[in-house]
Symmetry: C2
Subunit: 379 residues, 2 copies
Amino acid sequence: MSTAVAPKGLEGIVATTSSICYIDGDAGVLSYRGIDIHELAERSTFEEVTYLLWFGHLPTAAQLTAFTAALAAARTLPAEVVDLLRSVPATAAPMQVLRTATSLLSLYDADEADCSHDSNVRKSYRLTSQIAMIVAMFDRIRKGKAIVEADPTLSHAANFLWMLNGEKPTETATRTFDIALILHADHELNASTFAARVIAATLADIHSAITGAIGALKGPLHGGANEATMRLLYAIDAASEDPVEHVRGMFAAKKKISGFGHRVYHTEDPRATHLRRMSEELSKSSGNMKWFTMSRQIELFVKQEKKLNANVDFYSASTYTLLGIDIDLFTPIFAVSRIAGWAAHVIEQHDDNRLIRPRADYVGPAYPTPYTPMEQRQG
Amino acid sequence: MSTAVAPKGLEGIVATTSSICYIDGDAGVLSYRGIDIHELAERSTFEEVTYLLWFGHLPTAAQLTAFTAALAAARTLPAEVVDLLRSVPATAAPMQVLRTATSLLSLYDADEADCSHDSNVRKSYRLTSQIAMIVAMFDRIRKGKAIVEADPTLSHAANFLWMLNGEKPTETATRTFDIALILHADHELNASTFAARVIAATLADIHSAITGAIGALKGPLHGGANEATMRLLYAIDAASEDPVEHVRGMFAAKKKISGFGHRVYHTEDPRATHLRRMSEELSKSSGNMKWFTMSRQIELFVKQEKKLNANVDFYSASTYTLLGIDIDLFTPIFAVSRIAGWAAHVIEQHDDNRLIRPRADYVGPAYPTPYTPMEQRQG
């Protein structure tokens, strides 16, 4: 059989065709269905972007109204899933809880085993609303606060903040969070989306694929990077250190810094542009410039020293912190957004499926190695 | 950026180096760490094979004793996981339950976030024992039967059958099941193992990776194939049809038949050889030749008509049925075995990691597609 050896981590290997997300890493371009992310960040909403990702075109007014209503109507959780959120330790990592709860959701989804296009779309509405609810609800429960019921009159972004905080969010907070959701909604074959497609390609159901994707997103090399960024900012602040000197020390100790560089982008990550601006605006409006100033100093130093650009994670750390969101919710919030893209990719995979099954280059003991009898073995 | 376009489904693409499993699809060779699967099926045990997969060499007597004891000692489940098994609907698909319970296990595993080699090995012992327990225990619970406590004096195979049936298994049943576990323990970068490695490569924890792998295995193109084979045998039997005529009719109707052909093997799947033999032996010893005879007729016809060989799934269907195992436990039993290989691959991935992040070939609307204002859109 003929095989071709791919670079490690499948870097630069085109694993599938897709009509969802176009990235030009050299030009710093990200687009959903061909529409530039800058236009979407400035003019669209998470609901509209999700419609675009799933259906391939922007919705008419009537389509968007129906779509928004369907998402809002899907804001229900099976009692068993709420029971799970109440039964797990309050100290559990929210990503563990989200992964488990998403898997459990499938047991109460009447469409579970049906991998048809229409069934996948129906489940995508539910998963999008339910993942946001699970994240907000578990945070309330672990803090001993009462669960906040979903408000069907609110947008996806506003409802999440409402269910998380128990207060109606300001317009600025809602719009900031909505843009963050838009920016994170899809990113082609990132590791979690690729994991979802590998799972879906066995014709496993969408809940299996999304559960796997949540597991992948949990990894520090993927969704965990903005948590690491914020922990760094907290550490520098707690020690009253100079940010540049601290990072200089990290580099001297051969340590890597999270939130910089990207496998695909060789110029500024277009999402970082918006998150930097939002971080600055929230800082100014709140009168707390600390995190933004510190971030900006680090960004300029890393650019100068290592020629590395800030990526989507670097300014999302300070942006989320300024929105009052706990650090261990950063990655779950990534999932609250990325479910839009994951669902689009699972739908696309099932619509034209082929099992994803690569080969390995075997470098172990030569074949055939004999089966040595027990008494002749050496430990 | 330079990219290379891979065949659909990454067919023939070498995605990583690995020293775990060597397959020669043209010669019909499968080996673990270089040792031929035929030698292992005839002379080894599941415990020994698992040791081989994890540590790279066959164990000495002392090593095997310690390994077997450690696996047996890991036969405990957190009470919360047992509660979950009791709380889910008895009608739930066992693979959904296994996926959810495996995810939940991580919340009660003290090593959860530690992805070091030693931690991964510790968790692999637990996962191997716990996955078997979950499958057996849920089957008891859903049937309204009392849970059977693990017996630390029994082998992995015998303990599973004991916990499933509440009777000490015969030597023949234990050895047959043990060989089935050996045969399914690893298969290089099959879809579930590849999913596990993609997830692990974000430096996500092994529970995340295995949860994703279980989801992938659930798909009918992967673990679900022997279920489909058995459903076909049942359907033919229920209708008192001639097996060959039934399959001829399926081919005329352009239907595919499960359990034949393989992405990698272009000759007989070496695992099929053993499963065919075991199916025949169990049939003779039980005096029930029906499923074997029917299977053999179908195998010869499909080989003659389509030049397709029976794969690992085809005779595992009748073998498991003759062991008295329910059809919807076939795929969970695959997981009971494959956890050995999944764990080996996650350990190997974390030991020398690089994020697995391929690219997609974008075939959607041209970039830049303008953001059309709402009033100008057409549905």
